[in-house]
Amino acid sequence: MSGLTSLGAAQAGVSSGIESITDLLVVILDLNPIWWSEQLDNGVENGNGPPSQQYGLAPTLDQILIFLNSYLLIHPGNQVVVLGCLHSRSYFLYPPELINMPTDMPSDSRPEAFRIVNHTVQRAIQHILLQTSPDGEPAAGGEEKRETVFVGALSRSLCYIHRMQRESPKGQFVQGRVLVIEAGPDSSSHYMHFINTIFTAQKMNVKIDACVLGEDSILLQQAVDLTGGLYVKVENPGGVVQVLNSVFILDGAERSTMSVPEKIQVDYRAACFCHQKLIEVGYVCSVCLSVFCAFSPMCSTCQSTFKFMTGIKKRKPTDPTSSVPSPSSSSAAVAAVATKKARNGTGPNSNGKA
């Protein structure tokens, strides 16, 4: 499969001297203990309900491991990295960060590489969920919250991809991709970290894919849309492996040849800093870029006082040098906005769109 990628890249990268491409898949796994235990409780409460409607960590993990194995199987050059994220922490699961590479591998008929990955990931998750982490924080419960913060894991995976690209031998290129498997709801903290990370991924040409088990995630939808990845919400707990294997197994050039889920429409409206409501037309402070829904004489974020725009409108016609107006120059545009504002008062959205 990667043969296709390298072909396409070879055509594209003749000038840059790239001979082969290695695919590196980073999987970020949401280990939020509260969400997973809630799922378990729900299953126990409606004991007579169909058991297939709840996610269990162990069965889901098994499905994810099957996916990782298939990914490794598809091309000998493929590499995987697995990270786990909790509300306030993130860990590398493979290659392991907390535990040593396990040596006592149970021997079975599976290929060595699969066994190492599966065993290491399982061990690392056990370690995180059962034992106290080195920080002294309880690994489960206590300070954990229901929301998931995957930003830390995401930025760490970019660091890792960056390292792999740096260390790759000449003529080889490591093409990174991140797959976030999120269970719990979004957390709105760390939004700035999130945006910086997403734009970095975009710049590094790293696609971010999202596979959501719980409720829809607005953050991940934005990430996917900005980096050109895919977003899938899994409806059936037993069908995780099907979704992973049919949608997320291929990347790069091959994806265009497959039937993949349609792109989602993402809401890019800004929320104003004053009332946290989504707006279509707003006012932005020229110093700190805070967004407000109505005109105010002073910025509540950076304390700068604002002048009224009308001053420019008056000055402009008297300016002798502006005899050659440039239609696309923003001065004209801003003046137009000022005129409009002077006419309409502050009504931001009288027209609205259909």
């Binding site: 590398f92 939004y191 700035m192 970290h193 910086n196 734009f199 707003g282 006012y283 604002f306 440039s326």
Partner: protein
């Protein structure tokens, strides 16, 4: 800003300062190779640049920048490969992409000067592709004649002085020649630029030219002379970060639109987009999803853009948020002292799991610690975090809210 005005003169000339034995810093490693040692020096320089960055100045976020490109005879010189012009063009393309990546709401224009004339290559606009396409056409243009400093500065000022005062007005002059052919007194132009609050930075390709130095000094810009291609690239890249805003600029509230992307399902909703209207095949974009201006419902394919009908600046929330990292930069990491390196619980870099080698002869530990979350990083991750990522993975992973 004070540091910019009074610094350069006190330094004196390079040949008057103490003799530097630059080669003594380099040391061979076990295999007799110098590569690692040289790399250390290079990374050290990069890190020093990070440390010099001053936090929390008022920055001119809405940048309006004219790049004036010298196209005179002197650009044929081959001291930069293949010649000065081609080298500069290649770096400029890079610069323009990076500029719009880091300053999504900024605007840029290009002016060329050759044969004693100044020509506007592109108007101030926000689309990187347009500028790069225009720069491509310069590859077939022959550099010719003399450059004119005054005409090109006046041309840039003509547009820039009409920009509202909340925006930062800047000129970057890439100057290859050692002389200029001007119609009048250049000092009048310099004074005018200063009065208009236009910041002029000059990048020299040949040698230091006094008038350029004066120009940069008067207008609180920076003057630098490129030694070689990597140095030229570094200088250009240093202009990516928004400059501190001049004290007497005003602040405004600017009206902006945040359009939503909308797919069109019904045939009567189909429309042309404004951005491809003047291109030969606007039909191909007919009926495609797009962003609709919330005031006049004009369709655009891409953001950020300025509505051609009502002049509203249309941006998306991530674009605004993209600029925030200039205002809240990641604080420079501190190097972990030699004594503490053994006590570290975590021997691996938090970002990429590299096990950093033990301290070498030079006494550096190659481990850097974030002052907020106390995680340690290797030097490559340190640079990556500060140059590209702009957020500390350690802080992003911890529960403490940083915003």
């Amino acid at each position: 800003m004070a540091n910019m005005t009074d610094e350069p003169d006190e330094q004196g000339y390079r040949w008057e300062t103490e003799y530097e034995r630059t080669w003594e810093v380099l040391q061979e490693d076990a295999t007799g190779s110098l590569t690692a040692s040289v790399q250390d020096v290079v990374l050290g320089i990069k890190r020093r640049r990070l440390l010099e960055r001053k936090p929390n100045l008022r920055l001119g976020m809405m940048r309006h920048l004219f790049v004036i490109l010298d196209m005179s005879d002197s650009m044929r010189d081959q001291d930069l490969r293949p010649n000065r012009l081609f080298c500069v063009l290649r770096l400029l393309e890079n610069f323009i992409n990076e500029f719009f990546d880091q300053n999504p709401i900024g605007q840029l224009g290009v002016i060329t000067t050759r044969n004693k004339r100044a020509d506007r290559l592109t108007e101030l606009a926000g689309n990187p592709k347009k500028h790069i396409d225009a720069l491509q056409t310069l590859r077939t243009t022959d550099p010719h004649g003399e450059t004119t400093l005054q005409n090109s500065l006046e041309l840039a000022a003509q547009t820039l002085r009409n920009i509202p005062s909340h925006a930062s007005r800047e000129i970057i002059l890439i100057f290859g020649s050692l002389s200029s052919c001007d119609p009048g007194n250049i000092y009048d132009t310099t004074r005018m630029l200063r009065e208009c609050n236009i910041r002029c930075s000059v990048i020299g390709l040949a040698a230091e030219v006094s008038i350029c130095k004066t120009l940069a000094k008067e207008t609180v810009g920076e003057y630098s002379v490129a030694l070689d291609e990597p140095h030229l690239k570094d200088i250009l890249m240093s202009h990516i970060v928004p400059p501190p805003v001049s004290s007497n600029s005003d602040s405004f509230l600017i009206r902006m639109g945040f359009p939503q992307q909308k797919a069109l399902d019904r045939l009567d909703e189909f429309s042309f987009c404004m951005c491809h209207l003047d291109q030969p095949e606007p039909k191909t974009r007919y009926g495609q999803p797009g962003y609709f201006c919330p005031v006049c419902v004009t369709k655009y394919c891409e953001l950020p853009v300025e509505c051609r009908v009502c002049g509203l600046t249309l941006v998306s929330a991530p674009h605004l948020a993209r600029s925030y990292h200039h205002l809240f930069p990641v604080e420079a990491f501190e190097e972990v002292p030699k004594e503490e390196i053994e006590l570290l619980a975590d021997k691996k870099c938090f970002g990429c799991l590299t096990e950093t080698p033990h301290s070498d002869k030079s006494g550096t530990t190659h481990r850097f610690r974030c002052k907020v979350c106390q995680r340690t990083f290797c030097i490559d991750c340190d640079l990556f975090i500060h140059d590209t990522l702009h957020s500390c993975p350690g802080c992003a992973s911890s529960a403490a809210k940083t915003e």
